[in-house]
Subunit: 138 residues, 4 copies
């Protein structure tokens, strides 16, 4: 039986807000949500059995971010515990699109669409996502 | 006579890429373009006679980023000298939209659309951009 | 009966190395160990029942770092799982000194002596560490 | 004739404090002084005709930071213009020690002793600082 991508519950990664994440507005510096989203993507890949360092060492491939679209809805503060989701929207031969959200409890704080490409670590030229990886992701 | 916003040459801010800006891919970490764009916006405001710290101390208003959309085209590396532009696309009573680009020489490396809102520093509730500031921006 | 500070096993906090932590040398950017040390201190305080945000809201006190001395011994890399320790060396009325280490497994990667002061969040003037907090720390 | 190292005026690099540099205490996050110190060291090397990217491409050597000792005296705030100094204290075959200070006008905000080593970019093993570079530094 086939499980449709859209119906799977998204992957969730919990993280804490520290001093390093905040700015003089007293809240999380907006650029840092890109870091939070990336930590969640890394843990999502790890949960699928993919280590990015091993991927690079074994195949020479790395993932790069080619596009980010983020909407900031409510501020997070020091000591907040956030939950960051990852859901695959679309995957092609050399790239994929992910939908991500950051929550504090049930409150949605920020959400983003992140586009990622697979490239050669030396030349930064696009290359196919390894099949074994694509199978796990999909 | 009226000068149309779109016909003005954009503001430019020069910056250097340091170790702190790079990641293990050997290039600038993509989230850091949001920092580069913000430095350029800050210098653009300063060139217009606006200090954000003074604005806050005098009026209680701060600018927050409500939406970012960034496309990453080519990687920047350690020691690169970048030029980051700021062009106003649209301004309303409590928010504005800016178009920004990062260049290395004539090469476009990244570009973004950044939406900014004016809020009260204490409550984070939207408030009107002070008129004196709006006049300078437009 | 009195438990000597030095004989307690140090507090330990686990953390993962992400892309954001690395630099173009392919390893963790040295300044980021200060962030890792701080995350561990924050979790150490939390384990003692102290939330820094609550401390500030209730008493107006915040902790600031007044001195850091860090030795970098071996590089950490992407995907490494680190364990960061916190041990109290000395505590006074308005400050304390902590000894911290970052390990990957049994390998010591970095170690630091961090001096922290308690100040008023508004004026940054030194103030006594609240007694209830001192009791928990010691 | 011999110019004694200690009698030369230190190199100075000017930089501005942006939102990215601050934390929820309303001041510059202490770890960021390590970034400020490094920007100044990079510009000091550049002023001596040394590009670190070129050094790596041509010789395979990179500089790594092996020890940092920083004292934080007064906080810097958003929009502050800082001046960061670099003075060589000591240089050996594979390492050097630098004394650095961050000022706002005449006010000393932070000062540090930074120890740097020259290593092979691939193996991270210590290697001699290229002679041509040592001559320029001294």
């Amino acid at each position: 039986m086939h499980t449709d991508v859209a119906t799977r519950p998204p992957f969730r990664h919990a993280l804490r807000v520290y001093w390093e994440d905040t700015d003089a507005g007293g809240v999380v510096f907006y650029a840092n949500y890109l870091k939070f989203f990336e930590r969640a993507r890394t843990e999502w890949l790890r949960a699928l059995g993919v280590s990015q360092q091993a991927l690079r060492d074994e195949t020479g491939a790395i993932f790069i971010v080619s596009q980010t679209h983020v909407r900031y809805l409510r501020p997070a503060r020091l000591d907040d515990l956030l939950s960051v989701t990852v859901a695959l929207r679309e995957s092609g031969r050399a790239s994929m699109s992910l939908s991500q959200q950051a929550f504090r409890g049930a409150e949605l704080l920020a959400e983003g669409d992140i586009r990622i490409g697979c490239v050669d670590a030396g030349s930064f030229r696009p290359r196919r996502i390894p099949d074994s990886l694509l199978e796990r992701i999909e």
